[in-house]
């Protein structure tokens, strides 16, 4: 579904990614784990096009999207729930969601998607007229996921959805990811710090450090493959 090949990028003259290869199969949850500063966010933002790739290729459903601008990627069905959520703080929950349905493709299904979202996150329905900036951290994360869902993605990149959220809420968000994969057929590329939650819900796992993929493997077997020096960093 999405293959990232020898991707390199960075900021200014500082290189962060050094030839990253990642494969994401259709209808799977793939996780990328790694210590702070490993380059996970940089990877997702490069895939989205917020950061220009220096070299390497990004293929989506066998089309080269390396140079496609972000809003075109959204139209193609690839979208992100970014680090820091990037909501519109002065708009109401509903306005945030409606703006998510900006594209023609998503506008046509707007009622269905809204129903799905209120079904997945009933709290958002209650809060629908409240400005997004006044929601709690967990609610904001739900809204961020919901807004991305409004664009009807086929693959969703999530950058640490559990960040700064109570464990119970993390659970429910993770369960939502399972449901999205199973019921909505959405492929998921997940970046996480919460190792336990990630391992539990992922099909395949990549371990990243210093801008490189160190190991990859099945969620069940990966733990044994992680080099010792990294274990402490990622909380094992």
């Amino acid at each position: 579904m999405l293959s990232i090949k020898k991707l390199e990028s960075g900021y200014g003259s500082m290189q962060v990614l050094w030839g990253v290869d990642v494969e994401v199969g259709e209808r799977r949850i793939v996780s990328i784990l790694g210590p702070n500063g490993a380059g996970k966010t940089t990877l997702l933002n490069t895939v989205m096009g917020f950061i220009k790739p220096w070299s390497g290729r990004i293929l989506y459903q066998n089309i080269d999207i390396t140079k496609t601008p972000p809003h075109k990627k959204v139209e193609l069905g690839i979208n992100i729930v970014p680090e820091g959520r990037r909501l519109f703080p002065q708009m109401s929950v509903r306005e945030n969601l409606l703006l998510g349905a900006y594209n023609k493709r998503s506008r046509e299904k707007i009622e269905d998607t809204l129903e799905l979202i209120y079904n997945l996150f009933p709290i958002l329905k209650e809060r629908k007229d409240q400005p997004a900036g006044t929601l709690s951290g967990g609610e904001q994360q739900m809204l961020a996921i919901a807004r991305t869902l409004m664009t009807r993605p086929k693959i969703m990149l999530l950058d640490e959805p559990s960040q700064g959220i109570a464990p119970k809420v993390v659970d429910s968000i993770m369960n939502v990811l399972d449901r999205l994969r199973d019921e909505e057929k959405i492929t998921i590329l997940l970046v996480e710090q919460n190792i336990m939650a990630a391992l539990e819900h992922s099909d395949h796992v990549y371990i990243m450090d210093q801008g490189r993929i160190i190991v990859e493997g099945d969620a069940k077997e990966i733990v044994s493959k992680i080099p010792d020096y990294l274990r402490a960093f990622i909380g094992l």
Partner: protein
């Protein structure tokens, strides 16, 4: 004091304030959407005034017609300038965009100077006057105030009731969030800056409806300064704030001037302007982000 004068001054203040408001709105809009302080705002106002002059003198077109020409020209100019220059400067250091718009301002002024020379031009477009007790307001200035108000209403409706309007607000609040919604953020920036330029040029035409004289290549600078103060008063980036700020200034002027005049100040209008800055300072102490910014 005679009650007729009070009513006249109040109306006069509203008209003036409404015009100040529309003059400031374009500056606020561009800052709100692109975080760019448009130092060419004054030069665009100047070009708006010349648009009115040129079409009135050359083609007998009333300033009402020039309004539309100014909007269209400003819109295209703003969008082109965005794609040519400002696009690469979005998110760059403020100083960079400040310098870029300053350069544009000088460029626009010097073109005007080459084209029109340094003479002070003016024209006579008169629709007559309304007598308010013993005092007179020109119809054209009342019209200017009303057009300014309607423009702000239309702009607000556009921003809050249309899809593109929401996209503009979205980009203003978080450009990355806007990308995620599938919005072509560059196009929206171009549109926003275009509207800002269009409003600036249009307000130049509106100014000539209040005062069709003294048109010269450097007429914009005091308006830029005044807009700046008004925009800060209303809250940087807020449309309503800019307009309300303008109204406050307009009313403050008609109240303060007679007061200082009565108190035998040597230059009552300078005192009035000074007091406006004091009002701004006090207000910023109470509300550091201006009246309408959260």
């Amino acid at each position: 004091m005679d009650p007729g004068l009070i009513i006249f001054l109040f109306l006069q203040g509203l008209v003036l304030g409404s015009i100040y408001g529309i003059v400031a709105v374009g500056l606020s809009l561009i800052f709100g959407i692109a975080r760019i302080i448009n130092l060419s705002h004054g030069a665009l106002i100047m070009w708006g005034a010349y648009t009115a002059l040129t079409f009135f003198v050359g083609y007998n077109l009333s300033p009402l017609g020039s309004l539309f020409i100014a909007i269209v020209v400003g819109l295209s100019l703003g969008a082109s300038i965005f794609y040519l220059v400002l696009r690469r400067l979005i998110g760059a250091h403020e100083l960079t965009t400040l310098l870029a718009t300053f350069a544009l301002s000088i460029f626009l002024e010097e073109i005007a100077r080459l084209n029109y020379g340094l003479d002070y031009r003016g024209f006579s477009w008169s629709l007559g006057v309304v007598k308010i007790f013993d005092y007179r307001l020109t119809y054209s200035s009342i019209l200017a105030g009303v057009i300014a108000l309607s423009t702000v209403i239309i702009l607000t409706l556009f921003l809050y009731k249309t899809r593109i309007g929401s996209a503009l607000r979205g980009v203003a609040q978080d450009p990355v969030g806007a990308y995620i919604c599938g919005i072509d953020v560059n196009k929206i920036y171009a549109l926003g800056i275009g509207i800002g330029f269009g409003l600036a040029m249009m307000s130049g035409v509106i100014i000539t409806m209040y005062n069709p004289t003294g048109i010269n290549p450097y007429l914009g600078a005091p308006y830029l300064l005044k807009s700046f103060v008004i925009v800060v008063l209303g809250g940087l980036g807020s449309i309503i704030g800019a307009y309300v700020g303008g109204i406050i200034f307009g009313l403050a002027e008609v109240v303060l001037f007679p007061l200082y005049d009565y108190l035998h100040f040597h230059s009552p209008m300078s005192m009035t302007l000074f007091t406006e800055f004091v009002i701004l300072l006090i207000l910023l102490l109470i509300r550091p982000y201006g009246l309408f910014r959260r």
